[in-house]
């Protein structure tokens, strides 16, 4: 197990997570992108614990899909994977992912359950503080 890699990924996960609450309500497209990168680092931490280090999205996706331990995370991760890959290039990103979807759906339906599962897989106590989003525009 690459302990240094695992810890580095968790550090980066916390670093990214703190940013979500700092982004203004006018930027839900970037909130979802940062939430996605939180998930990437959490998943890479889990994979590092198992001795695997994905080098790109394709190898990570393949590892997630083929791991029974990550089956729960896989179903929640893929929508988050799909979302920022398109929203970054859109002319109307705020319509694609409005701010009112961030709290209940992006965080509530995807990020928080992924966090809960990942920390359980890592054998660590979950530090599950809800992200304090800014007030709506």
């Amino acid at each position: 197990m690459a302990v240094a890699d695992l810890e580095a990924h968790l550090t980066q996960y916390h670093h990214n997570r703190r940013l979500i609450a700092l982004l203004p309500a006018s930027h839900p497209d970037w909130m979802v992108t940062v939430a996605f990168y939180c998930c990437i680092h959490l998943i890479d931490a889990v994979l590092a614990r198992e001795g695997y280090q994905p080098v790109d999205h394709k190898s990570r996706n393949r590892a997630i899909a083929n791991s029974n331990r990550l089956a729960f995370i896989a179903k929640l991760y893929d929508p988050l994977y799909q979302l920022p890959r398109k929203v970054r290039y859109m002319a109307a990103p705020l319509e694609w992912v409005p701010f009112d979807r961030i709290g209940p759906i992006v965080l509530g339906r995807y990020l928080y359950p992924i966090e809960k599962s990942a920390f359980r897989l890592l054998g660590r106590p979950e530090i599950h503080e809800l992200i304090d989003l800014p007030t709506e525009i």
């Binding site: 394709k58 996706n61 393949r62 997630i64 899909a65 083929n66 896989a74 179903k75 929640l76 991760y77 893929d78 929508p79 799909q82 979302l83 890959r85 398109k86 929203v87 290039y89 859109m90 002319a91 109307a92 319509e95 694609w96 992912v97 409005p98 979807r101 759906i105 339906r109």
Partner: protein
Amino acid sequence: MTTNAGDNLAAGRIDVGVDGDRAYVLSPLDNDRFVRTGKQIIEACQLHIGYESWKQNLADLWEEVKTLGRLHRSRVGQVLMLPRNGTVHVLFVTDGGSFDFDLAEALAELNIRLRRQEGMYGDVEASQIPKGEFGRFVEASELGDALKSV
């Protein structure tokens, strides 16, 4: 200049270390076209997947994704399947302007299965795009190689 069989073999060599990420256009006799990376071609041979089987798998997948599109017909106006840089992209074109999370969860199940069965289908990725920004994600020149649902 004469060319012997050995030269031809050398010219047609696919080395995973050198050509693994290079895209190859496969042109069978029926005027169909597919794009695969050198690595995928090698993996397909290692798995003993015949070209016909692989082509049939993609044909079956096309029927499956069209059915999935019909299940979400209130939001999905069209389904496309097109090759790009060694990946077959399945695009669900949504009529609405916002990301459809229910459709995304259906596509998640599909993507997970396709990744598990990569040896059957090659590299396939399903996603959704809004009709209003179609041109941002699909080039007009790609439509000639694409399968399109009505």
